[in-house]
């Protein structure tokens, strides 16, 4: 019985990541680009996603802790409270990786299947990048997607 419940939770989680577009690493990077606020490049989506998630899960955790037991077994939540070096170092290392490429474990795996379809496009893009010295490229999001046409 626990496995079907976990499957359902995974499906709902993956649907949430897809609908919110968090499967796309560019969305995470656009959120982390706080300095882009000035130019309008900042994308607050990820903040909204977390807000929406917390609005649902925070009451659920309160309820779970009040009940002290889950439907299919005991409640096994982390109990540690100390902030140690491992926690801090892990958060910093994760933050560096996240800032470099924009994906974290959930979307990264949700995305693993999606990429197959877009293989040719991705390969072309990587191939184009390999010849360059610079490994980081920023797409000029607004300009490239919406070319402005001025009609005379």
């Amino acid at each position: 019985m626990p496995a079907p419940v976990a499957l359902l939770a995974g499906l709902v989680f993956g649907a949430g990541l897809t609908i919110s577009q968090m499967v796309n690493p560019a969305k995470a990077l656009a959120f982390l680009d706080f300095a882009g606020m000035a130019s309008g490049a900042w994308d607050p989506s990820l903040g909204r996603v977390m807000g929406g998630a917390l609005a649902v899960s925070a009451p659920a955790y309160l309820l779970a802790q009040k009940r002290g037991i889950a439907a299919l077994g005991s409640l096994r939540l982390p109990t540690r409270r100390d902030i140690d070096l491992r926690l801090a170092a892990g958060a910093v290392i994760f933050g560096v990786g996240w800032g470099l490429v924009g994906f974290c474990p959930g979307p990264g795996h949700c995305r693993a299947r999606l990429r197959r379809d877009q293989g040719p496009d991705l390969l072309r893009r990587h191939a184009g990048r390999h010849g360059r010295l610079r490994s980081f490229r920023r797409r000029p999001a607004v300009q490239r997607r919406r070319p402005v046409r001025v009609s005379a």
Binding site: P2, A3, V5, A6, A9, G10, L11, V12, F13, G14, G16, T18, S20, Q21, P25, A26, A28, L32, D33, G40, V49, M50, G52, L54, A55, V56, S57, A58, A60, Y61, L63, A64, A71, L72, G73, L77, R80, R81, I83, R86, L87, G90, A91, I93, F94, G95, V96, G97, W98, G99, L100, V101, P105, H109, R111, L114, R125, F136, R139, V142
Partner: protein, 141 residues
């Protein structure tokens, strides 16, 4: 403004929160993706089928949605392959060392008002933002 879609962000977020709800009220544990994936590599007795089922759902969801004709977002990955590999290793190592990622610390941990998770979330967001700032505004200028 880049592709900001407030409604889909909130709705998608609520679904992620619902998944965490199903996990904690049904199974009694934290729906942290990095922890579940890490658990698969070191299977404890009995946990592996549950963790596998969750990951299957996570991977299957966008496929089912596309098969049903729902819009699935295009992906934009601008990092070069070496950067992707380095980033992936850092993400994997960091989340295991720090005991969580955006789902485990960011959603589940903050939901249960954990000081550790709040600290970790603030730290990885600040560091991620710093890296993006350096790349986008200092290196690329």
């Amino acid at each position: 403004m880049s592709n900001f879609m407030p409604v889909s962000a909130l709705l998608g977020g609520a679904l992620i929160g619902l998944a965490a709800t199903i996990y904690v009220l049904g199974l009694g544990s934290v729906a942290g993706v990095s922890g579940i994936l890490g658990g698969l590599l070191r299977p404890k007795s009995g946990d592996a089928p549950v963790q596998l089922a969750f990951v299957a759902g996570l991977i299957g969801a966008p496929l089912l949605m596309r098969a049903a004709g729902a819009p699935v977002p295009a992906l934009t990955i601008d990092a070069a392959l070496p950067t992707l590999i380095a980033g992936g290793l850092l993400v994997g190592f960091g989340t295991r060392l720090g005991g969580g990622c955006t789902s485990g610390h960011g959603v589940c941990g903050i939901s249960r008002l954990s000081g550790r998770s709040l600290t970790a979330t603030v730290m990885f967001m600040a560091v991620g933002a710093t890296v993006v700032f350096v790349i986008r505004h200092l290196i690329e200028g």
